[in-house]
Assembly symmetry: C3
Homo-oligomer: 317 residues x 3
């Protein structure tokens, strides 16, 4: 593996999952792989799980890590070509990416959607520019339109808990007071489809995801119908793609409840966290054995470590 910006960078998904499950059994088995290597984690937005699980993954690989908190405000990078930089942007991506990539063997970046301009967010300017100008492999720690490390985590978790070869997986929109990006939902859908699971996406009208993400998944506007016989229910809020960045509904009847979970085939509940209790999902679901949210979050270490293992092996050649 060279970079890891989206599922398109994964050549052999079953092989990657196999690696992950092996690493989970013995987290220190690749301790030598990071020797004399180092990584930089760049955060343009806040992070808890991604920051900590990435550092832990690096510890497990013996990989030195520097963390750079730049903030969406603090580091005004210029991305345009040919511009006269006499405004508030003090550095061009060409230099920034080239320099950081000269220091480190791997560069991981978080840069959220701004939810203001759909074309800009979906152009993935930050990720694509880093990939273009950074000589080191780049890892997406959540970009404006995708969060592949989370989706890989989710896939690992489902592989661990599934009881049938091709489980029924439901991605359900759930209400939230603030506008959130589509990144997690987009990546989850893509990875489930790539894993050839039976995916249903359910949400209120107006919350359709971008075509490229939803692909040939079933779309069901009736949440209860969607839940029927599900093996896994994945809840997530996202703002509208079509009326870009808008909150079209906060309808509490879309919250995941124990009653709705009873429609499933003893299905497991999943969420990427942080989760608003009794808004996204009822306490009774989260606090039950059906919930996998803590196991999922724990697997964030495994997904990052697996991606790093594959990238570091690539460097060794």
């Amino acid at each position: 593996m060279n970079s890891f910006l989206s599922i398109k960078d994964v050549e052999n998904l079953p092989g990657l999952v196999k690696d992950a499950l092996e690493i989970k059994k013995n987290p220190n088995m690749y301790k030598e792989l990071g020797r004399n290597r180092s990584m930089c984690l760049i955060f343009l937005n806040p992070s808890l799980r991604t920051r900590l699980s990435s550092q832990k993954a690096a510890f497990n690989l013996g990989l030195n890590t520097a963390v750079l908190d730049v903030g969406s405000q603090g580091w005004k990078l210029e991305f345009e070509d040919g511009i006269v930089m006499d405004g508030d942007k003090a550095e061009h991506i060409k230099e920034a990416a080239a320099v950081i990539g000269s220091y480190f063997d791997v560069v991981a970046i978080r840069a959220f959607a701004k939810l203001e301009d759909r074309a800009e967010d979906y152009s993935e300017q930050v990720m694509e520019s880093f990939k273009k100008y950074c000589p080191a492999p780049v890892i997406n720690m959540e970009s404006s339109t995708g969060h592949p490390l989370q989706a890989f985590t989710d896939l690992i978790t489902i592989e661990e808990y599934k009881t049938v070869e091709r489980p029924k997986v439901v991605l359900t929109w759930a209400p939230h007071p603030k506008a959130l990006p589509q990144a997690v939902a987009n990546s989850f859908s893509r990875w489930m489809l790539e894993a050839e699971f039976d995916l249903t996406v359910t949400h209120p009208e107006g919350y359709e995801l971008v075509d490229e993400a939803v692909g040939n998944a079933k779309v069901e506007y009736d949440q209860q119908k969607a839940f029927k016989d599900a093996d896994f229910v994945y809840a997530k809020n996202w703002s509208s793609y079509h009326e870009y960045g808008k909150v079209l509904s906060t309808d509490p009847s879309w919250m995941v409840t124990s009653k709705k979970m009873s429609l499933t085939k003893n299905g497991k509940f999943m969420h990427c966290l942080p989760v608003r209790r009794n808004v996204i999902v009822e306490d009774t679901v989260l606090d039950s054995d059906q919930s996998l949210v803590i196991q999922q979050a724990a697997n964030r270490v495994i997904s990052m470590q697996t991606v790093l293992k594959n990238i570091l092996e690539g460097l060794k050649k």
Copy 2:
């Protein structure tokens, strides 16, 4: 040792002090103890000594460390059960503590008193909730009502410099322009009593500490009487416990001076730092051989390393 929230978690205080003095002689003697282990330091408030000495202690133990600066503003955690989380708090302590505790072998937290609501501060909600929901041992890096790592440091320092078995130790309130928590004073008092030293607490009326902390220490409202024949004078400002969080006095006559120190038995001066010169204590005291403040601060590494050593040994079983 499992967690380290207060002196109640210490089973064998003389043994812990013995460990500390041994570690001080040979700081790298437990270098293997941290191998394949990792720690997370979580700061809800600023820190200089605690942050740096904790990292240094971890280096000495070969323990990988991730630092998380969340700020009292930045990380709005919900602590209540059963609440509908549709406000500004995006994550419940149940998930946050469970996840961080799944990544790391030890979790250390700083969460200062807010000095607004005594019952809330003295409930130690942050520490107690982390201990309840975090599967890894938890270390208190100063909570709303206690700072046991500082008190352990102070005890180590007194053990190093005492010339009699049971020294006379004076904890004196000193003036300060801003309201400060009672945490350092509370813990110092408890640890001195547990060590069976001859403790006198002196302060203006209205600055009485919580009963549980002051225990059977002598309370003396006349500072000069208190200083008489003292082996150690420990100065610290705190805001009122009874008129909670209030600054009742900034009386400069309570500053520690060379003249007052001359009442002691060639006593040593101590303070946890940072210290306001010529407000808490005169330059002439701080800059004399009587002052132990730098030696104390240096021992912050030893106290953290000793606590970590005991916790890591507990994990090994």
Copy 3:
């Protein structure tokens, strides 16, 4: 080497350059030197290259590093003697430096010029106070009047790319919308003179550097004359030393262009980064083979690592 505050701390410049070129060939050759040693990086101002290259240098030396971001606002240190500290400054440099220096084997600090009071900036209060009160060696990561790690980097780069023994080096002022310190220009000039290169400094009238920095370099107010037959052109903006901290000119005719570079002897272009494209220098220069800015930035690791190597070797005795 003990501390590294300016070129005055370098006893043997050719030897230091030789070390640097050797380390560049084999960055991990001194991996054992950092064992059981640790460093603290203190940033009173933002940093990208210095922060990351310093951490990378430490990784290469097996040196543990703690990073402290204090901000010019967040950490109000008192530097005056004998003052009553009842204002907003909670800690005196005497304690702060003594404590940090007791934890770490090396302390590196960044503290920019405030550009308000020339005498204050040129007194180098922060660096000099740390050196005075900190028991560990101190490294300047850019102070109010100098940036020796950058100048050392620049020297290494010129040594790598020069084609004659004593190259003609031109330091040219270039326009910038905001007032910048003189630190980089001051140090560059000093190091070039110490290396006995043929140095010309060119700038608009009013931008004369402090005498001590410009020494016996040629000063040429006609930029094009200055560029003639240059082997290296180093562009940098600085605010006025004489009308202290003022922006006297933003004249775009001082921008470095391809046309001006054609006056040189196939000269190389250098800048310390971040660089404002088409303000300081034209895209066509930066994107050409004449530009060394990325190679320079990469050498920031080498200069820090070389300084650390010499300091750590000093500790070993």
